[in-house]
Symmetry: C2
Subunit: 213 residues, 2 copies
C-alpha cells in the first residue's frame, strides 16, 4: 500500500504506467460519433508496443465507422479499491483509467495476418505455436485496426488515495474509514466438454500460474 498518497485523481504523464494499465486489462470501450450521437462498443484490445490492436468482424458497424476515419477514443479502466470515507461526500473509488485517441489505421492483408497473431500472443502468450495458422478465409473475414499511442494522444488518470481524514471530511474521529481492495483474478481453466481428456497447454497454464498471482 505504500504507493498510496493523498491527492485527488489526476493525470499521470508516465508512459510506463499507461502501459501497465493497458497490459493488465483485456477489454475497453471504443467510442466514436455516428450521426452526431456517441456510439460505444466494448472491444478486446492488445497492446503491441506503441499501438493498440483492435479486431472484429468485417460486418461490424461501429468498426467500419472508425475504420473509415471517424474520430475514436478507446477507454480502459481498472477499478482498484472502494474508498470508504468518513462521509458519503468523500467516498469514492481508487481506479486507473486510460483514454487513447484515434485516428485508427486499417491494416492491409499482410499487416493483418501479423497483427492477428500478435493479438493472440499478447492475450495468451505462446498460444499461436499451439494452434494452426489462420487461413485465408479467416483473415478475409477479419477487420484489424491499429490505434497508435502517440505523445499527446493519450490520457492516464490515477486515483490511488486513502480516504479523507476525519478533519478533512469534517467528520467524527470514531468513524471507520479505509479501502476495500478490488482485484481481478483468473480462475483455473475449464476444458470444453470435448477437451476434458487433453492436457492443459503450457500457454493456458502460464496464464493462471503462480507467476500471475
Amino acid at each position: 500500500m505504500d504507493r498510496l498518497h493523498r491527492f485527488p485523481e489526476q493525470g499521470v504523464a508516465d508512459r510506463a504506467a499507461l502501459d501497465g494499465l493497458l497490459d493488465s486489462q483485456w477489454v475497453g470501450v471504443l467510442a466514436c460519433v455516428v450521426d452526431g450521437c456517441p456510439l460505444a462498443v466494448p472491444m478486446l484490445y492488445a497492446r503491441d508496443g506503441d499501438r493498440l490492436l483492435l479486431h472484429g468482424s468485417t460486418g461490424a458497424g461501429a468498426l467500419r465507422e472508425v475504420a473509415a476515419g471517424a474520430p475514436a477514443v478507446l477507454t480502459v479502466i481498472a477499478l482498484d479499491a472502494l474508498v470508504v470515507a468518513p462521509t458519503t461526500f468523500e467516498s469514492s473509488v481508487n481506479y486507473r483509467s486510460a483514454t487513447v485517441r484515434g485516428p485508427l489505421e486499417t491494416l492491409d492483408d499482410e499487416a493483418r495476418a501479423v497483427a492477428l497473431d500478435t493479438f493472440s500472443e499478447v492475450l495468451v502468450p505462446g498460444r499461436t505455436a499451439e494452434v494452426r495458422p489462420s487461413n485465408r478465409k479467416e483473415l478475409a473475414a477479419t477487420l484489424a485496426l491499429s490505434l497508435p499511442i502517440r505523445p499527446g494522444g493519450w490520457l492516464l488518470k490515477v486515483a490511488a488515495d486513502w480516504p479523507a481524514t476525519p478533519a478533512e471530511a469534517d467528520a467524527a474521529e470514531d468513524v471507520w474509514s479505509g479501502l476495500v481492495p478490488v482485484r481481478t483474478v483468473l480462475d483455473p481453466p475449464v476444458p470444453a466438454p470435448w477437451a476434458t481428456g487433453l492436457p492443459v497447454p503450457e500457454s493456458v497454464r502460464r496464464l493462471t500460474g503462480p507467476d500471475d498471482a
Copy 2:
C-alpha cells in the same frame, strides 16, 4: 457452467439480466460528443430502480456537457472468461456489456440530496446510517444526474459460450480448448492509518462477507 450455450454474442432483451450486470459493477464509461468528437469519461454509477445515478464535481467538463442535454451513453462491461479456442480466429472472451442511452436529467437540490444518499446506499449498503448526513456545502459542490433506463434505451449483449469445436474451427481434435474464468473479488478491508483502532463497520463487513463470495 450450465448457462453456457453455443451461440455468438447477441442482444438479450431481459431486463433482469441487465439489472444483474449493472448491479454487479461499479464503474462505466460515459461517452458524449463535444465539438464533433467523442468524449469518454469513466464514471461511478448506481442503479436505483429504473434509473442510473451519476454524480461528480460541478466543475467537471464532460458532466456539464451531458447535463446540458448532449446525447450520452453509459457503457458497463463485465468480463467473464477468456475463451481459448482451437484456433486463434475463434478465440475470444465471454462478457456481458450494457449500453444505456441518455438524455440525462440534472437533479435539483431536493432530489440531489436524496439521490446522493441512494448512491451511497447502493454502493455500500448501510453506510449512510454510519456517517453524518451530507451538508449544504457538499450538496452544492455536487452535480447529480439521472440516466433513465427506458424501454428501447438500452442494449445488453451477452457472450457466454464454449469455444468452437474442432470441427467448427477446422482444427485438429487434439488441441485443448476451454475457458479461463475471470472474476472480480473484494479483498478484506484495509483501515486508513488513522482508523486502525476502530472496528470495521457492519456495512463494510457485509461487502466482503461470505454472502458475497
